[in-house]
C-alpha cells in the first residue's frame, strides 16, 4: 500500500516535471510553430538566476517564482528581437539558429559562472510514507506544475488575451485581419514562453546541481513531449507528459532509471511514427 503510494507520487512528479519543463516550449510551438532548441538553456538560465538571487539573500521562493521568469523573459525578448523574428515560418532555420543560440548561451554561462556545479538546498523537508522517505519538494513541483497548467488553460480559454493567442494559432492573417499586430503578438508569446522556461528552471534548481550544460537534459525531454503532443498546447502537453511520465517511472521501478528513460524515448519514436501530427492531431482535436 505504501509502495503503491510511492509509485503514484513518483509518477505524478514525473508528469509534473515534464509538463513544467515543456510548458514554455509548448506555448511557443503551439502558437507560432517555433521550435526553440535553446529552450533547455532558458531553463538553465532560470536556474542560475534563482541560485544567484538566493545566494544574494533573496527569498528562494521569490527568486524562483518571480525573479527567474522575469530575467529569462527579458532574455527571451532580446533573443526574439535580434534573431527569431527574422525567421518566422522557416521552421528548420529556426531550429538551427536556436541550436546555435543554445551553444552560445552555454559558452557565455561557462565564461561567467565557470564549470563547477552550483546548488542550493531544497527548502521543503522530506516526509515519510510507511517505510519510505520521500522528498517533500517533489510535492511542490507537482503543485506548481498543476497550478501552471490550470492557469494557462484558464487564460487561453476565458480571457481576451487567450482568445487572441488562440486566434494566432490559426494563422497570422487571422489575427492581423482582426486588427492586432502579429509581430507584437509573436514577440509577446516568445517572451512569455521564455519566462515559463525560466520559471521551470527556477523551480527545478534546488533539486539538481546546476551546470552550464544541464540544458541538454531538459531540451530532449521537453522537445519530445511537445512535438509528440501536437498542436494543442495544454491537452497535448498533458497527454504526452502523462504517457511519458507514467512509462518512464513504471519501467524505472521495474528495472533501472536508464531503461525507464530509454523506454520513454522508444515510446516517443513509436508515437511519432504512428501519429505524425502528434497525439492531439489524432485525438482531442479541438482542444486547447
Amino acid at each position: 500500500m505504501d509502495y503503491a503510494a510511492i509509485v503514484v507520487l513518483e509518477i505524478l512528479y514525473m508528469i509534473g516535471f515534464l509538463a513544467l519543463i515543456s510548458a514554455g516550449l509548448a506555448i511557443v510551438f503551439g502558437m507560432m510553430r517555433v521550435i526553440n532548441l535553446a529552450h533547455g538553456e532558458f531553463v538553465m538560465l532560470g536556474g542560475y538566476a534563482t541560485i544567484a538571487a538566493a545566494k544574494a539573500g533573496i527569498n528562494i521562493y521569490f527568486a524562483m517564482l518571480v525573479i527567474a521568469p522575469i530575467v529569462v523573459g527579458i532574455i527571451g525578448l532580446i533573443v526574439e528581437r535580434l534573431i527569431v523574428r527574422f525567421l518566422y515560418g522557416r521552421m528548420i532555420d529556426i531550429m538551427l539558429a536556436t541550436w546555435g543560440l543554445s551553444l552560445l548561451l552555454i559558452g557565455l554561462v561557462t565564461l561567467i559562472f565557470g564549470n563547477t556545479p552550483v546548488s542550493v538546498p531544497t527548502p521543503i523537508p522530506g516526509y515519510r510514507i510507511g517505510h519510505y522517505q520521500m522528498g517533500g519538494y517533489n510535492l511542490f513541483v507537482i503543485a506548481v506544475a498543476a497550478v501552471l497548467m490550470c492557469a494557462m488553460w484558464f487564460v487561453l480559454r476565458y480571457t481576451r488575451v487567450g482568445l487572441i493567442a488562440r486566434g494566432t494559432m490559426q494563422g497570422r492573417d487571422v489575427v492581423a485581419s482582426l486588427g492586432y499586430n502579429p509581430s507584437t503578438i509573436f514577440m509577446l508569446t516568445f517572451t512569455v514562453g521564455a519566462a515559463l522556461s525560466g520559471l521551470a528552471g527556477g523551480v527545478m534548481a534546488p533539486l539538481t546541481g546546476l551546470l552550464p550544460s544541464i540544458g541538454g537534459a531538459y531540451i530532449a525531454k521537453a522537445f519530445i513531449t511537445v512535438i509528440t503532443g501536437g498542436a494543442a498546447v495544454i491537452a497535448g502537453t498533458l497527454s504526452t507528459a502523462g504517457l511519458f511520465g507514467a512509462v518512464d517511472q513504471l519501467v524505472s521501478f521495474a528495472s533501472t532509471p536508464v531503461l525507464g528513460e530509454i523506454a520513454m524515448l522508444a515510446l516517443a519514436l513509436v508515437l511519432l511514427r504512428l501519429m505524425p501530427q502528434g497525439v492531439t492531431g489524432q485525438f482531442f482535436r479541438n482542444s486547447t
Binding site: 534573431i83 521552421m91 546555435g100 552560445l104 512535438i227 505524425p276
Partner: protein, 350 residues
C-alpha cells in the same frame, strides 16, 4: 543528358590531382595526427552533405551512425583480433540500422520537423544506453561496453591478413586520405547517375516524383543507408585514431557539429562542407588550447550568423547558385558567339 546537369558540375580532375599531390606530400612538412582527425571529420561532413544537400534529408541524429561505426569496429576488433572484418562490419552495421530506421520513417511519410525529432531521439537512445553500460554484465563477446568510460583498448588497423603488421602514423594518414578521396568519388558517381538525379528530383518535389511513378520512400531509405555507412566509416577511422571509443561519439555535440559544418560549408555542395569541417575543426582544436574564448560560444555565434545572413533560407541558396551558374554559362556562350562572329567578319573582310 550527360555531363553537367542537375546542378552537378564536371569533376575538375586537375584540381583533384593537385590536391592529392599536396596531401601526399603533407607528412614531409608536418605531423599527421591532426590532419588525420580533420580528414575523418571531412568524411563525416561529406556523408551528411550528400544526404541533406542532394536528397533533402535533414537528420538531427547523424552522429548515431558515426558512433555505431566506431563502436562496431571496437567491439568487433576485440573479438576477432584482426581488423579487416571489423572495418567491413563498421560499414555494414550502420548501413543496416540506417536502413531499418530509414524505412520506418520514410515509409511512414515522416518528413521535415518530425524526421528531425525522430533522428534526434534515436541518437539520444544510443547515447543514454551506452552511457549506462558500465559493469561486466554489459559486453558483446569479449568486449565490455564500458558505459561512460567506453572501450579503451582494442586492436587498431592492420594490413589485411596480417595482424602483426599494424598501420599507424603516416601509413594510417595515407589510408584515411585514400578513404576520403574514394568516398568523394563515390558520392560524385552517385550524383551523376540516374539514382542521384532521382534523389535531386525528390529533394525538389517529392509529390511530383511520386506522381511520375518513383517509389520515393525506397530511394530515401537507400541514400539514408549509404550515408549511414559513410558516417560509419568515418566513425571507424575515428576510433582507430583515438584508440578509445566513448559514448561521446553519440553526443548532441557531435551531431550539432556536423550540421554546422554542412550549413557553413554550403548546403548543396560536397566540397564546401568538407572544407568547413577542416576549417571549423581546426578552429575548435585551437580554441581547445586556451580558455579565454569558449568553443561553444564561437560555434554558436557562427551558426546563428550563417542562418541569419543566408536570405530566404537554404533551399533557394541552391537555386541561386544554379542561377549564377546558368548565367555564367549564358555569358560564356555569348562570348563564344561574339568571337565566332568576329572571326566570320574577318573572313568576310578578307
Amino acid at each position: 543528358m550527360t555531363g553537367a546537369a542537375f546542378g552537378i558540375g564536371r569533376i575538375h580532375w586537375q584540381w583533384l590531382a593537385a590536391l592529392a599531390v599536396l596531401l601526399a606530400a603533407l607528412p614531409l612538412v608536418s605531423e599527421t595526427n591532426t590532419p588525420i582527425l580533420l580528414a575523418v571529420w571531412a568524411l563525416f561532413a561529406l556523408s551528411l552533405a550528400l544526404m541533406w544537400g542532394f536528397a533533402g534529408i535533414l537528420s538531427f541524429g547523424h552522429a548515431a551512425y558515426f558512433g555505431l561505426g566506431a563502436y562496431t569496429y571496437a567491439i568487433a576488433s576485440v573479438n576477432i583480433g584482426e581488423s579487416t572484418v571489423p572495418v567491413l562490419l563498421a560499414l555494414l552495421v550502420p548501413a543496416l540500422v540506417a536502413a531499418i530506421i530509414g524505412a520506418m520513417m520514410f515509409y511512414g511519410r515522416i518528413s521535415d520537423v518530425y524526421l528531425g525529432v525522430m533522428t534526434l531521439v534515436v541518437t539520444l537512445i544510443l547515447n543514454r544506453f551506452m552511457n549506462a553500460t558500465a559493469g561486466d554484465a554489459y559486453k558483446i563477446g569479449n568486449a565490455r561496453l564500458g558505459g561512460f568510460n567506453g572501450i579503451p583498448a582494442f586492436p587498431t588497423l592492420n594490413v589485411p591478413g596480417d595482424p602483426k603488421m599494424e598501420i599507424y602514423g603516416t601509413a594510417y594518414y595515407y589510408v584515411v586520405i585514400a578513404c576520403l578521396f574514394i568516398a568523394y568519388l563515390v558520392a560524385r558517381w552517385i550524383l551523376s547517375s540516374a539514382f542521384g538525379r532521382t534523389l535531386i528530383g525528390i529533394r525538389e518535389n517529392e509529390i511530383r516524383m511520386e506522381l511520375l511513378g518513383y517509389n520515393v520512400p525506397a530511394y530515401k531509405t537507400a541514400i539514408f543507408s549509404v550515408c549511414g555507412a559513410m558516417a560509419g566509416l568515418s566513425g571507424c577511422l575515428f576510433a582507430n585514431w583515438a584508440e578509445i571509443v566513448t559514448p561521446s561519439v553519440f553526443s548532441l555535440g557531435t551531431t550539432a557539429e556536423v550540421l554546422i559544418w554542412v550549413i557553413v560549408g554550403g548546403l548543396g555542395t560536397l566540397i564546401g562542407p568538407m572544407i568547413a569541417a577542416v576549417a571549423l575543426g581546426s578552429l575548435k582544436l585551437e580554441l581547445g588550447h586556451q580558455t579565454l574564448v569558449d568553443n561553444s560560444l564561437v560555434l554558436g555565434a557562427i551558426l546563428i550568423l550563417v542562418v541569419l545572413l543566408i536570405p530566404r533560407g537554404f533551399a533557394p541558396s541552391f537555386t541561386l547558385w544554379r542561377q549564377r551558374l546558368a548565367q555564367a554559362q549564358v555569358h560564356r556562350r555569348q562570348a563564344r558567339g561574339t568571337r565566332r562572329r568576329r572571326i566570320a567578319l574577318q573572313d568576310v573582310k578578307q
